[in-house]
């Protein structure tokens, strides 16, 4: 018998353990401990095996924690934003209908009436030195301080973390009107390292305060300074009021008594960030789904590692059993080992996950700010995440590894020939998986016609994502079997016959990789298609040469000036107010629903030619200018299932005597999450809405009659006009600049998605690498057998490579329809239903090619490396290796 030890140092160790064994009483626990010690000795001699398992777990947890920390932090930011007390108000008094500000006197009335639980706020965008925009928030600091004190008792539970007090601020300076603004330390370090900031041409002192105040990227100032900077003297943006929920009716009657009627200010209840949470849900879901995917792929690496290390210990385990260690003890020891590895791996992953989230957060902050206007607070983290990660990893790892352990301990002590039976069992599992997948896909197909809502679409996406990988093992089997008759006897025949046997050990890894590849391809397709759609849409939307958005009090003069400018060939206007749209009561809408919308109007030319209509009534343009016919944006139409011809009511139309209007058209509004409605100018005037436009656009004459102005001329003209009209860089934009900015913004918005997507692909590549590497390592003996029969090393290399190539190529081939299907669902269901943007799907060959290239390179490396190692040791050693 070949009694060669398996792990070089185990005999001595075993002997020592045996000696101790006689001294101690025979207990089950001791046996477990003994086995565990042997395992640790094993890993000491094979650190790479332990390393692979740890790497897998750590990678999985890193991505899980990284995204979780980022997401939790964002969600916490919305609901817990201390970013100005005002955001946590229970009630807001906002400007009355068709106005952008409200009168300061309302606030004085409130305070005089003893309603001290209120806070006046002005806010707005303000331009900095390089045409950069800042969000400036001004509020009554004294009121804020007293409120902060009284509120901090009431809401201690939301601020279990250190809640900084405003007392540390240099109040005297702030209150006596010194030009001083406050911002969070991290922002100040970035933009005002010298403690000075230039806003609207005035230089301001900057006070940096702790990030925990939750200012995010906003700039805070006392109300008088802010009014001055924003040119809003005597005006307010809103008043925040604090009140218990049950006191609200009382508060309302109090306001009525004070004469604060809807003509002076509108009353609206706040939801403490709930709306934002709902709005961004799909965004977070998206991130979560991707992190879960990466987590699963990471765990496959760990699973592979466990599998390999078990295979390497097969004889060792049999020896332990033969020496009289109970199976139960052995099992416990294996479990213990796994738990140990999971705890260590998860802890490593936890640390790097926090690091990752640190790195992702600015990106997420950017996206959330671009899309939803939400500010993010600096990162926090909790120990519970670590425990959650450990628990989740442990459950997943135990679930995956338990069958392996059971197989192993059930193994006959006599070195049995049960491999053949195992093979048969695998075949059966694969066909069951295939049947299950077919069932799931059938369910998905049946569900498809009903996937009108976002939630069902998500379920649909989930089912497809689970079902398709389950198809893979059986398809691989069929694929290889189909090649069998083509193979000449000898090496080719062997190659295919063995490939068929490799499907079982490789299938899990390949399923994970299929999923990662498909996700990658589909996400890239989504982003690529979106970008293309956005570009074409911008092309239609933007027709004028320059777009001007001057401060509201100067728009009149600028408009007149431009109208008389001989260089101008066309002048276009846009009017805008905030309004409420109500849907009629119907069967699926039992109570009347009011939706806040932006109500817009444009000049006739712009409306007719740049509206990018998705669908419209055939008689739209005949009726649009002389009847109450409106255009609604696609997101609005999709969110509330509005159809052409539907009748809705707009509060802003009250003055016309009839607030009802017919939807005459639905227009694309890509990249905009707000609800928009456009009405014609005659209707706007009839409703007595503000006559001054909010923005202007102008086209200019070129050199020749009727030609457009050239790019270079336009730049010159823009600079010229800016000085002539007294506009800052931030107030005048050329068409090209808007386009580049829109695309840049779009790219930033999706950067987090793309980064996560690439990370998942990297994890998948590492997974593929570890799977191929370990499999090739595990096949040293069969390869050595071939070598001993006279197959040259080059032929062997080519053969192993071909085998992996067959498996990887079939997987990649399946990734194409899967990626297309997932992409289709992402574009035509998820994005459409979550955001209301119709996107034309463009298949991204480049992304697909890149994914395949990565897969192939990885697997080539993973195959060649072990074969190279093998050439450096005697053939006999390889012949005696354990096999799968």
């Amino acid at each position: 018998m070949n009694n060669k030890p398996l792990t070089k140092a185990t005999p001595t160790e075993l002997k020592q353990i045996e000696l101790k064994q006689t001294e101690l009483k025979q207990t089950w626990l001791r046996l477990t401990w003994l086995s565990l010690k042997v395992f640790i000795a094993h890993y000491r001699h094979a650190p790479i095996q332990a390393g692979a398992i740890l790497l897998g777990i750590a990678l999985a947890v890193t991505l899980l924690i990284g995204v979780k920390a980022t997401n939790d932090n964002a969600v916490r930011s919305y609901s817990d934003a201390t970013e100005l007390l005002s955001q946590r108000a229970d009630v807001l008094l906002t400007p009355p209908l068709a106005q952008n500000t409200l009168d300061e006197s309302v606030y004085f009335d409130l305070r005089r009436a003893g309603l001290s639980q209120s806070l006046a706020v002005v806010n707005g965008k303000i331009s900095g030195k390089n045409g950069q925009f800042w969000q400036l928030e001004g509020s009554d600091l004294i009121a804020a301080l007293t409120l902060q004190k009284s509120r901090s008792y009431a809401s201690t539970e939301t601020h279990s973390t250190t809640s900084p007090q405003m007392n540390d601020l240099p109040l005297a300076d702030l209150l006596n009107g010194a030009p001083t603004v406050i911002m969070s330390r991290s922002l100040a370090d970035k933009v005002a390292p010298e403690g000075k900031l230039v806003l609207e041409n005035s230089t301001l002192d900057v006070i940096a305060i702790d990030d925990n105040f939750g200012l995010g990227s906003a700039i805070l100032a006392d109300i008088s300074l802010a009014q001055q900077l924003l040119n809003m003297q005597g005006r307010l943006s809103y008043i925040a009021m604090f009140s218990e929920r049950e006191n609200l009716p009382q508060l309302k009657s109090q306001l009525d008594a004070l004469g604060i009627t809807p003509q002076k200010a509108s009353f609206s209840q706040q939801d403490q960030g709930q709306a934002l949470i709902a709005l961004t849900r799909s965004f977070h879901l998206n991130l979560n789904a991707m992190s879960m995917l990466a987590f699963v792929v990471g765990l496959f690496i760990a699973y592979n590692g466990v599998r390999y290390s078990l295979m390497k210990r097969q004889k060792l385990l049999v020896q332990l059993l033969q020496q009289g260690i109970e199976r139960r003890a052995l099992m416990t020891a294996l479990m213990f080992e796994l738990i140990l590895l999971v705890v260590i791996g998860s802890s490593l992953g936890f640390i790097s996950g926090l690091q990752l989230s640190h790195w992702l957060q600015p990106m997420v902050a950017m996206t959330l700010e671009q899309m939803y206007g939400a500010h993010l607070l600096p990162g926090i983290w909790q120990w519970t995440w670590l425990f959650e990660a450990i628990a989740l990893t442990l459950i997943a790892a135990l679930g995956a590894c338990l069958p392996l352990y059971l197989d192993l301990t059930r193994q006959a002590l006599a070195q049995g020939a049960n491999r053949y039976q195992q093979m048969q069992a695998h075949r059966k599992t694969h066909s069951i998986q295939f049947a299950l997948a077919c069932g799931l896909l059938t369910v998905a197909a049946l569900l498809f016609p009903f996937s009108q809502s976002y939630n069902i679409s998500l379920v649909l996406l989930g089912i497809v994502a689970i079902a398709i990988p389950l198809l893979l093992p059986q398809l691989l089997h069929w694929g290889v079997s189909a090649l069998m008759p083509l193979a000449r006897p000898g090496l080719w025949q062997y190659l295919l016959a063995e490939t068929r046997e490799l499907i079982a050990p490789l299938s899990l890894a390949m399923m994970a990789i299929l999923l990662a590849l498909s996700a990658n391809v589909s996400m890239n397709t989504l982003v690529g298609s979106f970008e293309q759609t956005l570009r074409t849409w911008l092309e239609t939307r933007l027709h004028a040469d320059l777009y001007i958005r001057p401060p509201s009090q100067r728009i009149d003069t600028i408009q007149t000036q431009l109208m008389h400018d001989p260089r101008v060939s066309g002048l276009y206007q846009q009017w805008q107010i905030e309004a409420q749209l109500s849907l009629p009561v119907s069967t699926d809408n039992p109570s009347e629903q009011t939706i806040p919308v932006s109500l817009l109007s444009r000049d006739e030319f712009s409306t007719r030619h740049t509206s990018a209509l998705k669908e419209s009534l055939p008689t739209l343009w005949q009726s649009y200018f002389n009847a109450p016919v409106i255009l609604v944006s696609e997101p609005l139409a999709i969110k509330y299932q509005l159809q052409l011809g539907d009748s809705v009511s707009l509060d802003a139309l009250k003055q016309t005597g009839n607030s009802q209007a017919i939807i005459g058209g639905i227009y694309y509004d890509h990249g905009n999450t707000r609800n928009e409605v456009i009405i014609s100018q005659p209707l706007w005037q009839k409703a007595q809405l503000p006559l001054l436009p909010v923005s202007l656009a102008a086209s200019f004459h070129g050199n020749e009659q009727g030609s457009r102005i050239s790019e270079a001329q336009l730049d010159q003209l823009q600079a010229q006009l800016a000085t002539e009209l007294g506009l800052s860089q931030a107030e005048i934009y050329s068409q090209t600049k808007i386009k580049t900015q829109a695309i840049a913004m779009f790219k930033r918005t999706f950067s987090i998605t793309l980064v996560l997507n690439s990370l998942t692909l990297i994890v998948a590549a590492i997974g593929l690498f570890s799977a191929c590497l370990m499999l090739t390592q595990a096949r040293q003996a069969p390869l050595a057998r071939l070598y001993s029969l006279g197959v040259s090393r080059n032929a062997l290399r080519a053969m192993v490579f071909m085998q992996m190539l067959i498996v990887v190529l079939i997987t990649c081939l399946l990734a194409m329809p899967t990626g297309a299907l997932l992409g289709y669902l992402l574009i035509n269901k998820i994005t459409l239903q979550a955001f209301g943007w119709t996107i034309k799907m463009i298949w991204d060959w480049q992304a697909y090619g890149k994914a395949i290239l990565i897969a192939l390179t990885t697997c080539t490396l993973a195959v060649l490396l072990p074969l190279y190692w093998q050439t450096r040791k005697p053939l006999v050693a390889s012949l005696q290796q354990e096999t799968l």
Binding site: P489, G490, Y494, A497, E498, S788, L789, P874, V876, L879
Partner: protein, 230 residues
């Protein structure tokens, strides 16, 4: 005089030494061994367990490299052989029966036997049918090799080693797992092969009975070889 009649040794060992390092310890297994085996010659290799019999076979097959000395195969020195030469020799001239069978698990019995044939692009021959019949493999031909018993696997391994009529057959206890009757059959088969196709056979065995079938006997002990003519 025997050497004059058979001037071409198929395998020749000149001062071959081989030892292994086990951690700190080094132990010599073969010490300056000189041996040669001629065309059609059959040799039984005996010796106590651990004496280096398998090591000797591994050296001749190129599965291990000698620490010093030279091995000549078909009159060519192997010291400069690379992968290509070794592979060609193994394909064309060598048959091996291992102590632990080393069958190709993905293939069935017939394909295992045909494998060495197909490597040299030879078709299935009447000789193969004869082998299959003699070794009692006919009912097993289409079974997967893993589902076979130890003795059955051993017979497949023998059939595979003989199928392409190698010039040199190295067998490590080929009858270890067989009952007396099949053991004798295998020995008869080996002798027949040696006679008919001038195959040289080097066979490790612990059994006196099997050793008796061979023309010569080499006895290994303490790193040296004693040669007995029978």
């Amino acid at each position: 005089m025997a050497d004059v009649a058979k001037p071409n040794p198929v395998a020749k060992l000149n001062q071959v030494s081989k030892g292994f390092r086990d951690g700190e310890q080094y132990h010599q297994v073969l010490q300056a061994v000189n041996l040669q085996i001629h065309r059609g010659e059959t040799v039984a290799l005996t010796g106590p367990s651990g004496s280096g019999k398998s090591t000797l076979l591994n050296l001749i097959a190129g599965f291990e490299t000698p620490d010093s000395g030279e091995i000549l195969l078909e009159q060519a020195s192997t010291s400069t052989w690379q992968d290509k030469e070794w592979s060609r020799f193994r394909r064309d001239s060598l048959g091996v029966v291992f102590q632990q069978f080393n069958l190709l698990t993905p293939l069935n019995v017939k394909d295992n036997i045909a494998f060495s044939l197909s490597l040299t692009a030879q078709p299935w021959s009447p000789w193969c049918d004869y082998l299959v019949e003699k070794l009692g493999l006919l009912p097993l031909l289409h079974r997967p090799v893993e589902a076979l018993s130890g003795g059955q696997q051993q017979r497949v391994a023998i059939a595979r080693a003989l199928a392409h009529k190698p010039t040199l057959l190295l067998a490590d206890e080929p009858t270890g797992n067989l009952d007396d009757v099949s053991g004798k059959q295998v020995m008869a088969l080996l002798c027949e092969l040696a006679r008919e196709s001038q195959t040289s056979i080097l066979m490790v065995t612990h059994s006196e009975e099997c050793a008796a079938f061979m023309q010569k006997r080499w006895h290994l002990s303490q790193g040296a070889v004693a040669i007995y003519e029978q």
